[in-house]
Amino acid sequence: MQRILAMAILSLSAVFFGLTTLIVFGKVWREEVQRHRRKRRRELEPKLLAYAHGDAASLLPALGGELRRGDRAVMEQILLDHAQRVRGSEYAKLSRALDELGYVDALIRQLKSRRWWRRAEAAEKLGLGGAKRACEHLIPAMSDEMAEVRMRAAKALGTLGGTSSIRELVHALNEPNRWSTIRLADILTGMGRSVVDELTSYFDSLTLAGKLAALDILGRIRPLHTVPWLEQRLDDAEPDVRARACHALGCIGDPRTAPLLVRALDDEAWPVRAMAAKALGKIARAEAIDPLCSAMRDAEWWVRSNAAHALRAMGPRGAEALEDVLDSEDRFASHQAVLMLEEMGVIDQRAQHLVGGDGGGRAEAEMFIKRLIAVGQIGRLRALAADPANAELRAVLLQLLPAAELQTEAGR
């Protein structure tokens, strides 16, 4: 029994010792590899940078005619590190070197690896390295069974650009179950104006989700030449398309679109009216003020709220219009007007005139305060009346406010 026990202990100790030795050697080996790579990096990087900054057509002469097998991983890392930080002719030279040294072919082969993370890594590196000829191999990777591979391939295509890449990315907008529409939209937006024509050309073949994403992308890129095309979308049968078209037009901000957006304030669908109001706030044209005041009495809360914010965004002209709304019989409209005037600082300014203005200014300010009191929204006035920093204003407001509260109570 004792012998068996001793054997067991010895065996366990041997296994423990063996594992420890393996771990220690593994660590030493990895550190040695890292140290060697750092050393090789220090030697190779200046050669690569001299090539990137210089006039040489090829990197190979600087490397002695060929790249040593043991240096492949180091050189790939150096190339990709620098390619991410520059653009223009030096970026083109780094991309050329990546291809010349055979990395592009190896990465294209790696796109067919059985391991998904190797495929994802290859797609990412091809994009970072600007390997334009890899586009045709990245397009099939957009149908990969793994979402991560698809997304990295999409990102790479977004970096590489080109008509075929754009077309694939635009069509991918049709499959929100396979793609993160937000990330795709980010990729397409990042490609800038080059995607605009593809988005408008293929718009009719997109699903509703794809169309909405496309309109959002146009709103973010803001291409002025698409304004007439977007205006046509305001007559689309689908209310969501009309609403997003309003949004995109607002983002572009062409003042000539104001009349059509004013017309959209009468659309039968409230999301369209709400987005039209918001867009008009961005465009800030005087002719939109009256229709926006009317929109503040809309049956839908979002339309009223967006109209009020739009008037607020118009500065002094909008503030004037909001003051007119104070007398509206529509309680919501007048309450919303008070809220906007408060956020704009108009209430504070007018209150200061109660004590600091001339005779006319004081009378006008008092009229304004009384109108606020009549609306019944006196939260800001109460706060000013409670502020000990301005005793004179406080006294004037306290004279006005009790009467107001009585009026409000009587109104109830």
């Binding site: 990137a52 900054h53 210089g54 620098h82 930080r85 653009r87 002719s89 030096e90 970026y91």
Partner: protein
């Protein structure tokens, strides 16, 4: 004539190696700081002719470095070029408002960077 001395302040060693090699190739003398604090120390010690600075750095960010430079009598005239990944309009405007003389967004075009640096150095020399 002595080569112009340029201080690069950036916590990304790959960027500093790239820019150093680029500027040394153009004949400039290059100093490197890996954070804002170190950049200020080197600036005071060596009085560079120009500073290329990132905005996001440890200890003192680029904006703080700009403010410290502009508030220091010895360093206030040194032109500063911001080289940053921050590409939003408000970042660029803030950088220029805080006292930067030029702003280049990463990833950057190396030739464009060299030309901008050359112009800034020429302008400073003319002023002196």
């Amino acid at each position: 004539m002595a080569a112009a001395r340029i201080l690069i302040a950036d916590d990304d060693p790959i960027t500093t190696r790239f820019v150093s090699s680029l500027l040394e190739g153009e004949g400039y003398e290059v100093l490197v700081a890996e954070d804002g604090e170190h950049a200020m120390q080197l600036a005071l010690q060596h009085l560079p002719d120009l500073i290329v600075s990132d905005l996001v750095m440890p200890y003192r960010d680029g904006y703080e470095v700009l403010r410290a430079l502009r508030n220091n009598e010895r360093l206030t005239a040194i032109p500063v070029l911001i080289l940053s990944m921050k590409d939003r309009e408000e970042d660029i405007v803030r950088g220029l408002e805080e006292g930067a003389d030029d702003y280049v967004v990463k990833p950057f075009n190396a030739r464009e960077l060299v030309v901008r640096i050359r112009k800034l150095l020429r302008r400073t020399k003319t002023r002196l």
